[in-house]
């Protein structure tokens, strides 16, 4: 089990979410965050005041994955969040010690399996077949 934390551009959120759902990762948590990286700073002018916005708006997505889902999840994020410009974000992968589902008390992998796991899996498989070899590679980015 891994906790995958990724920081992406807010304007890529819709694509990232779609890619994750296609990869079968449906349990995600979003947070609006501000961060500083290598991006150029935004300058705003209000009358005589010039403001340099040092922090950029980003979205942080957290998801706990069982092992078979870790690599597809990473591939999905890479293919959907990348623009090639500085500021695309990061993916952090950390081990998880325990997971407990509050509703049932299930633990670990059982707690991570989506309630509608079968439906999700069917959907994910369909997309893998459509995209051909290399799951997640060459997403529909237009």
């Amino acid at each position: 089990m891994k906790l995958i934390t990724t920081i992406v551009r807010p304007d890529r959120l819709a694509e990232v979410k779609a890619a994750l759902f296609r990869a079968g990762v449906t349990g995600i948590t979003l947070t609006r965050v501000s961060g500083h990286g290598g991006e150029q700073e935004i300058v705003e002018q209000y009358r005589g005041t010039t403001v340099v916005m040092e922090f950029h708006e980003k979205v942080k997505i957290e998801m706990a994955c069982s092992e078979p889902f870790v690599q597809p999840c990473i591939d999905a994020i890479l293919s959907s969040a990348r623009t090639g410009e500085v500021g695309d974000g990061k993916i952090f992968v950390q081990p998880i010690e325990r997971v407990i589902r509050i509703r049932t008390g299930e633990v670990d992998n059982a707690a991570l399996t989506a309630v509608n796991a079968d439906a999700v899996q069917r959907e994910a498989l369909k997309h893998v077949q459509h995209a051909g070899a290399g799951a997640g590679a060459g997403e529909e980015e237009s």
């Binding site: 705003e44 002018q45 209000y46 009358r47 005589g48 005041t49 403001v51």
Partner: protein, 441 residues
């Protein structure tokens, strides 16, 4: 009904009165949008409270001091409590409208003028101190000044100073008082420490729009009749505001490469300020020049102010004091009897002496406003206490002064005092049967 009363004139002046009333509401939005969210209500209340306080003051004694037939220096106390201010016209002001219509029209000017000052002292002045200041300033500065320029027998009027709708009385007096107040009060705690930017620019645009709308009443209504002079003032008002907006946008574009919304809002207001004294005395082409020059003066002043330690927070001095001065002096340049036979001639019409008269009017206004404000603030400081302490400034004056928030649960620093995380508890509501909760007994 008095036979001299004109239905058309009265209808227009009463309409204009309502238009000018809306300006103070517009000012509340204009200023409210320019401050930070934790001070939005406090800033807006500084305008709103004037609608209440000055209206009461006006009926009790304000109108008498400003417009009574007293000496050249003040109107006296003959009209206390509106005694003698009835529906009959007073030819000294307007022969065709009820005196009460004149009184109500002038009231709206008396309300917005001190409210303009509030832009210089936002986010740090105790509200109770502001209210006392408002009352004293209206009584001891605005009312006498209005008498000097517009009152029957006022000395600046006798001198021949041209001020159509209040460039000196309203804008220079408010602008100069704002400068003095900002200096005496000192800067906000966060001034030059963190970036302080407008929290709601759409509100600023809404306010600027209402100001423009109301200003038609302010200037065209100052004709005190529904006639050609009102149409002239209306035309000049719109033209100057438009020209100043365009000029400001061009200056923004040259300086930063972008045209800003706050700049457009500020520019149009500055154009309106500039045209105020001139509206009924100059031709439409001249109003283009007034709009452009007022914007240029004000824009430059704002850039310079931003490099100083002076925390005239919303640039009241640059926008009203300087643009008002530019307007007053440009009235002396462009005034012509071709536009208004009952007005006067200025420099370009061959009467250079008018420039001197305008200068005297400006200097007299500056002197009264600066000295008066300094004295009043010294008194308020010594008695009521004037500045919100650092803790109150950090929490925001909405909470510390009013005990409410413009945006519930979102104010203050992150997790600072007063931040509502999760659900709040209603203390004053009557306890009812909890919905959907398991019964306890």
């Amino acid at each position: 009904m008095n036979a001299a009363i004109s239905a058309g004139d009265t209808a227009w002046v009463l309409t204009a009165t309502a238009l000018v009333m809306v300006m103070t509401v517009g000012l509340a939005f204009f200023y409210g949008g320019l401050v930070r969210p934790k001070n939005a209500l406090n800033t807006m209340m500084m305008s709103v409270v004037a609608l209440g306080l000055i209206s009461v003051q006006w009926v009790l004694f304000g109108y008498s001091i400003a417009f009574g037939h007293g000496s050249p220096l003040w109107g006296g106390l003959a009209w206390l409590g509106f005694r003698g201010v009835g529906v009959d016209p007073d030819p000294a002001y307007a022969a065709t409208i009820p005196l009460q219509a004149h009184a109500m029209f002038q009231l709206m000017f008396a309300i917005i003028t001190p409210a303009l000052i509030s832009g210089a002292i936002v986010e740090r002045m105790r509200f109770r101190a502001y209210v006392v200041f408002l009352l004293l300033w209206a009584t001891f500065i605005y009312d006498p000044l209005a008498h000097w320029v517009w009152g029957a027998g006022g000395w600046l009027q006798k001198l021949g100073a041209l001020d159509f709708a209040g460039g000196t009385v309203v804008h220079i007096s408010a602008g100069v008082s704002a400068l003095v107040a900002a200096r005496m009060l000192g800067a906000r705690r966060d001034f030059k420490r963190t970036a302080i930017v407008p929290h709601n620019v759409p509100l600023v645009l809404l306010g600027a729009g209402l100001l423009w709308f109301g200003w038609f009443g302010f200037n065209a209504g100052s004709a005190l009749a529904a006639n050609g002079l009102a149409a002239l003032a209306f035309t000049n008002t719109n033209t100057a505001a438009a020209m100043a907006l365009v000029t400001w946008a061009c200056l923004d574009l040259v300086r930063t490469g972008k045209i800003t919304a706050v700049g457009a809002a500020t520019g149009l207001v500055v154009g309106l300020v500039g045209i105020t004294p001139a509206a009924g005395y100059i031709t439409a082409p001249a109003s283009l020049a007034v709009g452009a020059l007022a914007a240029l003066v004000s824009y430059t002043a704002i850039q310079i102010r931003a490099t100083t330690r002076l925390d005239d927070s919303l640039d009241v001095f640059s926008c009203h004091g300087l643009a008002g001065t530019a307007g007053a002096m440009l009235t002396g340049v462009f005034a012509t009897k071709l536009a208004n036979p009952a007005g006067g001639d200025g420099w370009l019409a061959g009467n250079f002496a008018q420039m001197g008269v305008q200068l005297v009017a400006v200097l007299a206004t500056v002197a009264l406003a600066a000295l008066g404000t300094a004295v009043i603030l010294t008194i308020v400081k010594a008695t009521v206490g004037i500045k919100a302490d650092v803790r109150a400034q950090l929490r925001g004056l909405d909470l510390s002064e009013h005990g409410e928030e413009a945006y519930f649960g979102e104010q203050g620093a992150i997790a600072g005092p007063g931040t509502a995380l999760g659900e709040s508890v209603v203390v004053s509501a009557v306890a009812t049967e909890p919905l959907g909760a398991p019964a306890t007994g």
